[in-house]
Amino acid sequence: MSGSPSRASRLTLRAIALGYLAALLAIPVAMVFYRTFEGGIGPALDAVTTPAAQHAFWLTCLMVAIAVPLNTIFGVGLALGLVRGRWRGKTLVSALVDLPFAVSPVVVGLALILVYGNSGWIGTWFAENGVRVIFSTPGMVLATIFVSLPFVVREVVPVLREIGVDQEEAASTLGASPAQTFWRVTLPAIRWGVAYGVILTTARALGEFGAVAVVSGKIEGQTETMTLFVEQRFQAFDLTGAYAASVVLALLALAVIGTMTLLDRRKEM
């Protein structure tokens, strides 16, 4: 084509881009897969089926099972409020909702300790009632919710703007209740946006390390998620364990990317 660079420079640019991606992403990730299965599948399987590894896996699943539904309900609710509602403080809330993306995970952990720790603002009340939040599962759930909170809002807001209110108004003019309008008209129209948000929330919830590390106290077999397990195995010089658990997490990440690609195609249609 006339407006494009010559074939030679096109090939050079392609080589640089792909070389950079290979050196930074593809080869290092492949390396961990190779290292994991270098001694056969047996040792790798043993490493991820120890009681500590299994506990870590299920704890991570628990984090996802609590954080993702809560953030989805919150996200769809807030997106509706931001796009369709008129209330005081809307602009401010819309700016503040992205805050978790800008905060270091370690700061998230510190913030939660200051409020929910034993001598924290609300934590003292919990402590008096015998509920342990920090260095226990509830604190880790809070940290996971915090870091994965904005994804659904972010994905749903532009979709809601795009679909407009015509169909919703038609439905309510025809006598549909707000609940009927939401379930029959709004939700089907935003479903791919919600799905994309849910996938991103899940990925972040599965993979959070810093914030959970600060509030977990890292008690092996008790407050250790998959990511914390990876670090703990590495620090204990058990590279097989660290690599094998990493491979499990990497496979989950690849599944996330696969789903995102499928959803992209759906959205285009």
Partner: protein, 279 residues
Amino acid sequence: MSAPAETIALAHRAGRGRRRLATPAVGGALATAYLSLIVLVPLAAVVAESTTGGPSAFWRAVTGDQAFAAMRFTVIVSVVVVVVNIVTGTLIAWVLVRDEFPGKRLVNALIDLPFALPTIVAGLVLLALYGPKGPAPFDIGFTRIAVALALLFVTLPFVVRSVQPVLMELDREMEEAATSLGARPRTVFARIVLPNLVPAIAAGAGLAFARALGEFGSVVLISGNIPFKTEVASVFLFGQIESDNTAGAAAVSVVLLVLSFVLLLFVSWVSTRGLRRER
């Protein structure tokens, strides 16, 4: 104001659909309460904690030798990483949009890997290849280069994903006109393509910068966390929290919070400007 918002305003003024609009307002209130309980109140607690010892204690915490060294290194390495991202991110976006080659879809999907892969795994993965026991001809484990590499890994998608859609939408007629008037490809890129990409590049760069400033998981294994050398701000904070110096940690956190908040404001300013220009 966007068209749907105007429609809502009109509908509201006309008194129609008021019942329907009450629901979003209640949703908004509940969502605000949720956001406050989990995000806003805890962040306010960090700000409050940082002031417990008065301004002088805050100043001492922030300018302490180790704290200052960690923050300075974090800012410098983040700037380097963002500059590299601006070049490589734009290049990768260009190749993904304008070039055709087998496996392009796969490469495009792989760009999101750093977002999906847990950060601790990202660090481990780089260490496995470029670390002391890795097969690479050099060992960068526990050096400043290692920190930069980890940050490059986790921030890779920002500029690419910000530039890519703009490049796709770009009208090619201007480029073709310039070429037919005798402009060379390099001139066409510098004078026509690049100016159109600047807002998107700036937005992606701002997000990458904010991410790099606060990054923890990918850096913690590969950097070795050597104070005054490879220790970044978030790793320093982690140590302070573990040794119960919450006031000092809170002070450094406030500096990080302000920096990343300014960056977010910059990004939203750049993107609204970009939108306005489109119209």
